[in-house]
């Protein structure tokens, strides 16, 4: 049984010197179409396997819930509820009630409103930071894996360095010098989380580089760009996706921690900042659990959701993890 890849690539490399009869209906017309049809099939296969994974589906549902909540924030609580001076606010430090299901904070603001609006910031930061780290990591991984020798050594040393350095102290130093704003936080997290993607990508590049069809393509004069986009990226894609989802979870946790320590953007409300306020206002000592639980639980569930999705996907696409 020949692997489908070989089939697709053999077709790609055949020079179209001979005039072929028009293919029968239903058969893809060109090599590119064959490749894309195969990719669609493999994507739907992955999706079908994913659907069977209970953990993955549970994660997906939780995620969907939070995305809906974040998008529908204005419908749940008006944005003015975030202001300390809003007339809609209630008595400060009050426990949950019908009017304020999650109670109120030190300004009398509804903790429910804070939690719901906070989801926007936390999710956004998590997503953007991870995108940055994915781009940086993939690029470095591809360059290192493809070109080898000096670039590889230098880049891999850099990667190792970033991996060894403890994240929080590094992030703290960077954030405190660069200032407190959302973009700084996103940048800091993105710039410190790329090593895992870089490693995965490089390993994949190395394994794909030596496959026969790549050598054949090179012999036929394929450019690095062609090889990278047509051969390497599709192979590496699913693995990066799984890893990236896990990274989003970590990014959200990182943002929360940085915000809690006072390095967050003073102009935005994120879950970490709500916890920062709560702690600084002595909520722990005063037993104000309604202020502390919702943002924390929200973090836990969102991170859990991303992690479960990431694990489920990893189980499917990572050849090393297939159960014997």
């Amino acid at each position: 049984m020949r692997p489908p890849e070989a089939l697709g690539h053999v077709a790609e490399e055949k020079p179209s010197a001979v005039e072929l009869e028009p293919p029968p209906p239903g058969v893809p017309k060109s090599p590119r179409a064959i490749v894309w049809a195969r990719r669609r099939r493999s994507a739907s296969r992955i999706w079908r396997m994913y659907r069977r994974n209970k953990m993955g589906m549970a994660g997906l549902f939780i995620l969907a819930f939070f995305i809906v909540v974040a998008a529908a924030a204005p419908l749940i609580a008006g944005e003015e509820a975030l202001k300390a001076t809003c007339e809609c606010n209630g008595a400060p430090f009050s426990p949950p009630s019908w009017e304020f299901p999650f109670g109120t904070d030190n300004f009398g603001r509804s903790v429910l409103a804070l939690t719901v609006w906070g989801s926007r910031i936390s999710l956004t930061v998590g997503l953007l930071a991870t995108v940055i780290s994915m781009v940086i990591g993939s690029t470095i991984g591809i360059v290192a894996g493809y070109y080898g020798r000096w670039p590889e050594t230098i880049l891999m040393r850099l990667t190792d360095w970033f991996l060894v350095i403890p994240f929080l102290p590094l992030a703290i130093v960077l954030a405190s010098i660069l200032g407190q704003s959302m973009s700084v936080i996103i940048l800091v997290i993105g710039v410190t989380s790329w090593p895992s993607d870089a490693r995965i990508v490089r390993a994949q590049v190395l394994s794909v580089k030596t496959r026969p069809y790549v050598e054949r393509a090179q012999a036929l004069g394929a450019s690095p760009w062609h090889l990278i986009t047509r051969h390497i990226l599709p192979n590496v894609g699913p693995l990066i996706l799984a890893n990236t989802i896990l990274l989003i979870a970590i990014a959200i946790l990182s943002e929360t921690t940085l915000a809690f320590l006072g390095l967050g953007d003073p102009l935005t409300i994120s879950w970490g900042r709500v916890l920062e306020f709560a702690f600084n206002a002595g909520a722990a000592g005063s037993g104000q659990w309604w202020w502390l639980l919702p943002p924390g639980l929200a973090i836990v569930f969102v991170v859990l959701a991303f992690t479960m999705c990431g694990f489920a996907l990893d189980e499917i696409v990572n050849p090393k993890l297939r159960r014997r």
């Binding site: 130093v173 010098i177 660069l178 946790l253 929360t256 722990a284 037993g287 502390l292 924390g296």
Partner: protein
Amino acid sequence: MRRYLIGKIAQAFLTVVFVIAFNFFLFRIVPGDPAALLLRGTSAFNPDNVEQLRQDLGLDKSLPVQFLVYVKDTATLNFGESFFGRGAPVIEVISDNVWPTVLLVGTSTIASAVLGLIIGIYGGWKRGSKFDVGSLGFTLFVYAMPEFWFGILVLMAFAGGVGPFPAIFPTGGYESAASDLTGLAHLVDVLNHLVLPFSVLTIAYLGQYSLIMRNSLIDVMNDDFVQTARAKGVREKHVLWRHVVPNALLPTLTLTLLSLGFVFAGAITVEYVFSYPGLGSLTVQAIDGNDYPLLQGLFLLFSVAVIVANLVADILYSYLDPRVRAG
């Protein structure tokens, strides 16, 4: 073997040099005047002071010279002066606060590792059992939880007392303030204050260790030599502890030591939550006060600690694995 070790040590040293260089360039690459940056937000911020600081820091000299001076300073443990206590040397401020952190991180890492390994071994060996699924679920949940949030909840429950929870532990600190306890009484007092932060850190990280061990164990369990041992008539208990675990332990050991970086991150926030006067709380105070020299010194210290831990892990591994020892 010796070449392997020398190589690893050289690598570690190089990494430390990178960190130092990083620290150096951090200020210089930020647009604007480093001296102004240092004084920004403090009461001493005025043109004269800034100029004085520039001269003190040697910022008027050329870059390579500055770098050499910086390296020399670092080598002599001169990290500049903290903004604390009106200019106490950073190195002093740090060393004054080291011990509580060593105590906290040391004890909780050991407890975490031992508990985590045992849970991981049993979970992996009885893969799919209730224990395994339960411990995996627990691990996942704790992983998703910010340690400081967990710490706050614990603080609220057991120190502040809320709902059904009793307030039986102190709300923070290393020891009771204004006390002259000595000897055993002092030890008990310290331990009393240690319990909550210790528990939080231990629970927060044992999941990671258990997961690493579990996966390592499952990998090894499927190896052929396990089948050989069973065929020989070795009882299951011994198959686990004499054949599987020694093989599974090796990679776990390294990975465990490599996790130290995360433990430090946790220590920073947990110490802050429990007002535990160690390097963690110091870091947060430095953030609040924009105390850059102190922050840099702390960053260097944390990094070196993790680098050294990695090095120790490598060396230990090479001694324990006969395949590496021989080569």
